[in-house]
């Protein structure tokens, strides 16, 4: 029974959406377009009039060793963060799904680090990882490692330390998503597999994994995109150092734009970040058809 809506509803709907639309247009859509334009200028912030410099910023990026180091560091971060986070999230979700006791407590305990601020946990982990006086190296020495890593003081270990803290902080969030996916798998699938004589491993391989693949895929996309936004941990724990060893993409953009006021150049880096995320999204959604079983 479709009734014709009163004519004035067109205006009402528009009024309801107007605040969101204006905010979106002014603070998201316009900056997006303006950012592309800025990337072709030498804009230096404040009220200085920008000059159009064509592709100069992009040519400079190609030969900019500092930018390339931050890009490389970010790719290493992604390559470590994504598989580790997914592995811990999956193991935790499966384990939690198969226990009946303490389930509520365990879920809260694993999820809790996610809702605390990056700044707080970066400060605490800085203390925990203190090479001489921190508890982590105390434990490592106690179990017989005579020369534990210098963590944030070492250019070889600092990036690894940042990744480990990031994994510790966020796996619980993805665990919750996977747990919901696991609980959506109908029990009769397992029952019929058991009747066919499938053991636990085969049940996991032929029922759990395929049924969970859409959720796993979503977690993959989210963790990859997330890994290109890392900033807070680096800013508080290492300030990009030692040297340039933990300088990542967003940190480099931040430094160029808000410390050196090379806004035009920073805008061109932002365009690169934007393109990376777009390409990853497109590639992942194309691969989705191959990997994911519905």
């Amino acid at each position: 029974m479709k009734r014709r809506l009163p004519y004035r509803d067109y205006a009402t709907g528009t009024l309801f959406i107007l605040p969101a639309f204006v905010l979106f247009a002014v603070f998201i859509l316009y900056p997006l377009v303006y950012g592309f334009y800025m990337s072709f200028t030498d804009y230096g912030g404040f009220n200085i009039k920008p000059n159009f410099t064509g592709l100069a910023n992009y040519k400079k990026l190609l030969g900019d060793a500092y930018f390339q180091i931050s890009l490389k560091n970010n790719l290493i971060y992604t390559a470590l963060f994504v598989p580790l986070t997914m592995l811990f999230a999956l193991l935790a979700a499966i384990a939690l799904n198969s226990v009946l006791h303490l389930r509520q407590y365990l879920r809260v305990a694993f999820y809790f680090p996610y809702i605390t601020s990056m700044v707080s946990i970066a400060i605490v982990w800085g203390l925990l990882l203190n090479p001489e006086r921190g508890p982590v190296n105390h434990i490592l020495k106690a179990i017989g490692i005579a020369h534990p890593p210098e963590w944030l003081m070492s250019s070889d270990w600092a990036l690894v330390a940042v990744v480990l803290v990031a994994v510790w902080k966020s796996f619980g969030y993805y665990m919750i998503i996977l747990l919901a996916g696991l609980q959506g798998i109908p029990e009769y699938l397992y029952e019929s597999a058991r009747l066919d004589g499938a053991g636990r491993f085969k049940q996991f391989l032929y029922i759990t994994l395929p049924s969970l693949s859409p959720t796993l895929f979503m977690v993959l996309v989210l963790t990859v995109i997330n890994s290109f936004q890392v900033f807070d941990l680096v800013s508080v724990m290492t300030d990009g150092g030692p040297g340039r060893s933990t300088n990542v993409l967003v940190f480099r953009i931040y430094q160029e734009a808000f410390i050196h006021y090379r806004m035009g150049y920073a805008a061109s880096m932002s365009v690169v970040l934007f393109l990376i995320i777009m390409i990853i999204s497109i590639v992942q959604f194309r691969l989705e058809r191959k990997w994911v079983t519905y």
């Binding site: 009734r3 509803d9 009402t12 709907g13 528009t14 309801f16 959406i17 605040p19 969101a20 639309f21 905010l23 979106f24 002014v26 603070f27 998201i28 859509l29 316009y30 900056p31 997006l32 303006y34 950012g35 404040f46 939690l96 226990v99 303490l102 365990l106 305990a109 694993f110 999820y111 809702i115 601020s117 990056m118 700044v119 707080s120 400060i123 982990w125 925990l128 508890p135 105390h138 619980g172 998503i177 919901a180 049940q203 959720t215 979503m218 989210l222 997330n226 936004q229 800013s235 508080v236 967003v250 931040y254 734009a257 808000f258 806004m263 932002s270 970040l273 934007f274 995320i277 777009m278």
Partner: protein, 281 residues
Amino acid sequence: MLNALGNKRRDRIAYALLLVLLVACSIVALFPFLWMISASLRTDVDLFRNPMNWIPQSLYLDNFKEVWTAIPFGTYFWNTLKLTVIITVLQVLICSMAAYAFAKLRIPFKNAIFLLFMTNLMMPWHSIMVPQFTVVSELGLYNTHTGYVLVQLFSGFGIFLLRQFFLSLPAELNEAARIDGFGEWAIYWRIILPLARAGVSTLAIFTFTFMWNDYLAPLIYLQDDGLKTLQLGLKSFQTEHTTDYGLLMAGTLIATIPMVVVFLAGERFFTKGVATTGMKN
């Protein structure tokens, strides 16, 4: 999989081992917070004694007093609370209005506008922060709370989440209310919003957490010490007082407590929100 009530002895032992392992992991997950508490309750001398004491030898509570005078902690706390509450209320209002329009009202180019809004989910804020900063500066809103609030109010996630909740409400509800003489605003405010309480609470709790913990945007937009938030305050405290760990940990702990309260009060909304949408950037 493993069955706690299983009869086989082997199964029960495996189950017990798994439980022990999980509890051990949960202690590792919570260890930094335990350490935060432990470190905040002692002097630095006690903290760095060798061999190490895992538990404070005597309770030292002065850190919790001194932190309010060592830095303008009260100002930071008040700024954070004020900004978080204002942004949460306004964002929920604006997103729910838009979501209601998408779900229940007629708008020109509805699908195109919805798709445009949803690009916000794919595109990280970090890739537009530089030009957005320029726009805010040109509006004369740099270094103001107004500027910071304005850039946080739109949320593609919020609109998506609430639209899902509104779509699940039957269309007859609107029709019946219209026949009873309700205007659209009254229907939205007095019928739809109360019915979508779960969705509204989920968004409110997410936004509150996210804003309380926000670091990069305040770092860019807020310059004056009197405008800064807790996260900025803690960061500069860390840079300036590198040796005062007990004090720093007390500050960090105080800044974390409101999140613990919100989390424990709204845990079911967190898990439900994550599970139903799986998105929040």
